[in-house]
Symmetry: C2
Subunit: 470 residues, 2 copies
């Protein structure tokens, strides 16, 4: 009840008093000067850059459930131990594994030419010799939805869209529906196959893959993404008004159930009974690039930030648990497995880095009302890095959401600049050369500041926890 009264006071107090409140309520645990020192040291720390270089070079692509991801787990555990983390262990789980096969396409009429594409996750297959069919084009998913089945049946559906790059990555949710839902809509109308314009914002011949799941009762059909230039080319060819035919070969296949796993490491807290601060990213990647921005960078940033505590010997109040999740890309299996395996451990706050290696520009948090002072303190420590407060709620990420949802934890989103993220996301171009060290170091500094605050405060942060009597 004491906490609830405090929360009520916080909601009505003048903002000008918040700095004073910080000084009187939080400094017992959090020492802003020490956090600022740790934060600034992170700006000169190469560890995140080196982790990204190591994982992408010494493992490369690491599709979930494959031998490559297993090698990545060995690499991960060895690396986390060598960095000094405690309680490093791997927790495995089983999952279905789909793998890419041949993937080629050629316009056969009216203007013969090859197109560059890549299968979407869980795509059906053509026969090895491919299929030939007429193409029918749609300017949007809505247009496909509105089309009569008779118009679509036995044709290769092509759906384009108009996604543009935005700093906050918005656009992926909306335009991504073309990938997530387009294949099932096309299949339900009897299409022979579906080609989409890549859910991406670049202009390179590197198509963007990504997962899609068939809705109940719908037959899997071949489903692939054309690179953005190839999609624009197909739109131009269709614009001539002549009948367009394509020869399409896609031979992906399901390989059954295989093992994936989460690799876990910790910075033990001074109070072992305090609820856990859960952070991390995902270890698996799509198979086309080396998963540098998605998500070696996220692992590296969160790991480097947690390691600041080990480097300085400044043991946090709460245990920081770092997880390199498996099998995120193909359906979030790692996050689900973690939430299930650790349902009986209390988590205070979750945060995930899964949006590249560029700088943090925005902080958004979902915290207990009583934690306003903590949030303000965090913003004060982030502001010198150019971070601004956002007005929305925090969402976490695929890996930490199952835990957040199950336990009503606090969530902090350190939003990274996504302007170029969807130029690279899920393509062969997601490689180490895309990492800009100063941006990555700024992100590590932001994460360090965040951990310095949330792992050291005694203030309950979780909205679920705050509602309960203490």
């Amino acid at each position: 009840m004491a906490r609830a009264a405090y929360a009520c006071a916080m909601r009505t107090i003048l903002p000008a008093l918040s700095a004073l409140l910080l000084a009187t309520t939080a400094t017992a645990a959090v020492q802003p000067d020490k956090v600022a020192t740790m934060r600034d040291a992170a700006l000169k720390d190469d560890i995140a850059y080196d982790i990204t270089e190591g994982l992408t070079t010494e493992v490369g692509q690491r599709l979930a459930g494959t031998e490559a991801e297993a090698r990545a787990r060995v690499w991960a555990a060895r690396t986390l131990k060598s960095l000094g983390f405690a309680n490093v262990r791997t927790e495995t789980f089983d999952m279905p594994v789909w793998v890419r096969g041949a993937e080629t396409a050629e316009v056969t009429a009216p203007f013969a030419q090859k197109l560059v594409l890549t299968a979407l996750g869980n795509s059906g297959a053509t026969p090895a010799a491919g299929i030939d069919a007429e193409v029918i084009g749609f300017a949007s998913l809505d247009e496909l939805r509105a089309a009569p089945a008779a118009q679509v049946a036995n044709k290769i559906v092509f759906v384009t869209h108009d996604m543009k790059a935005n700093q906050d990555g918005s656009g992926y949710g909306y335009f991504g529906a073309v990938r997530r839902n387009g294949p099932s809509v096309a299949s339900a109308k009897g299409a022979a196959a579906i080609l989409i314009k890549s859910i991406g914002t670049d202009h390179h011949r590197v198509p963007h893959t990504g997962v899609q799941n068939w809705t109940d009762g719908v037959k899997p059909i071949p489903a692939a993404a054309l690179s953005v230039p190839d999609a624009e080319q197909l739109s131009r060819i269709l614009s001539r008004g002549q009948k367009v035919t394509i020869h399409l070969t896609l031979t992906p296949r399901d390989t059954g159930i295989h093992q994936s796993g989460n690799v876990i490491a910790e910075v033990p807290g001074r109070d072992p009974r305090a609820p856990i601060i859960l952070i991390g990213g995902h270890l698996d990647s799509w198979d086309l690039g080396t998963g540098a921005i998605d998500d070696a960078a996220g692992l590296a940033i969160t790991t480097a930030a947690a390691r600041r505590f080990l480097a300085t010997g400044a043991k946090p109040l709460r245990t920081i648990r770092l997880v390199w999740f498996g099998a995120e890309e193909v359906g979030g299996f790692g996050g689900e497995a973690y939430a299930k395996a650790h349902a009986n451990e209390k988590h205070e706050l979750v945060a995930e880095a899964d949006f590249g290696g560029d700088r943090v520009w925005r902080m958004q948090a979902t915290l207990a009302p009583a934690a306003k002072a903590t949030s303000d303190q965090l913003m004060e420590l982030l502001a010198p890095l150019g971070v601004t407060p956002g007005r929305g709620a925090a969402h976490g990420g695929t890996d930490v959401e199952p835990t957040a949802n199950a336990q009503g934890t606090a969530i902090v989103d350190l939003g990274q600049d996504g302007t170029r993220y969807f130029d690279l996301h899920h393509t062969a171009d997601d490689t180490f050369d895309k990492i800009e060290k100063p941006q990555m170091q700024q992100a590590v500094a932001a994460w360090t500041a965040m951990l310095g605050v949330v792992a050291n405060t005694e203030t309950p942060l979780a909205p679920g926890a705050a509602a309960k009597p203490q």
Copy 2:
């Protein structure tokens, strides 16, 4: 002799008088106001953009000597006729044709992963099942040249380099030696194959192909370019100091002698006896992209500029001959065939556009000394487009050089901005979406101004011609 005396006077006269001289000597033929009007109209002309769109969409890639290039010639002749050009015809010639096969590579140890590469022109082949060999890396072609054969024999040679983007495209000549000469050097030392870092300045997984020719007596070996990110990856892998092995499959083949051709069109001059102004670009492209910047753009710019005369009815004094050359990429066969077929026709000046679709930033000319006033007049008409005079000699280009060399013609180089040219050159990324219309329109305006001057002056321009008595 009168001309020679005039030239002598021009070399000694004060620069301040040159405008007056222009007014008294050149306006009989060249009317700067009319040229400026044509030039400015070109800034609003969509024809070059539309030609580029049409050729890249309706034909796509057009490797020399293939059925695709033959389709391109049909497209070219139809288009040039429909634009109103006179004397449109195709002149064919025979040439050897090499075509790409399978091309895959995989690091097998110490860090198993695929690499993206593409065969270089005239590459030898591996068996269909590929080869396995140890990799030996070199930081430069000089380092490879210095290596003992015993160190290189039976290995896969990897040569990297440090090319950077420059506005004038310099770097391609120097670093391009890795591609042009590296394969023969490696083969002479007994290498099993050679992989080079792409001769390019981008960071995408789209390798740069390009021609290379085996020196006499050297056995063709598999020769390919890794994309820039893959080459950097292989350098990082080699930097670990462990033995690196690669499984390489390249199955290109020679297909024998096939037909290519030049497509020729004209703007007839008022004086049919006056020597010809020869302009153009090349119709063939490499097979990976759709040849938008290399060289649909060059065809389009020169064609649109020549067409300004047809559009305005302003017949030039000298005939402008526009050639869309065949088979440039694979060895300059079209330019050689043209020079041979037209050796008995007198050419005054040659100019070629084969450096993308971006703006003209520099003019350099090789002219008879007596043509200084013409050159000054040209600069005055180019300056409003932001073009500056260069200090070097003009070189023309692969297609027009055989004619220039045989006849001692004048040459004008309208240097286009090459800052992003080698990001795209000879890759799958050379597609229509890379064309920026305002830049292309500026280039057409520069070419229009140039033609307006050189096709209308009575002044002999060719260094060879100026030396002869008139």
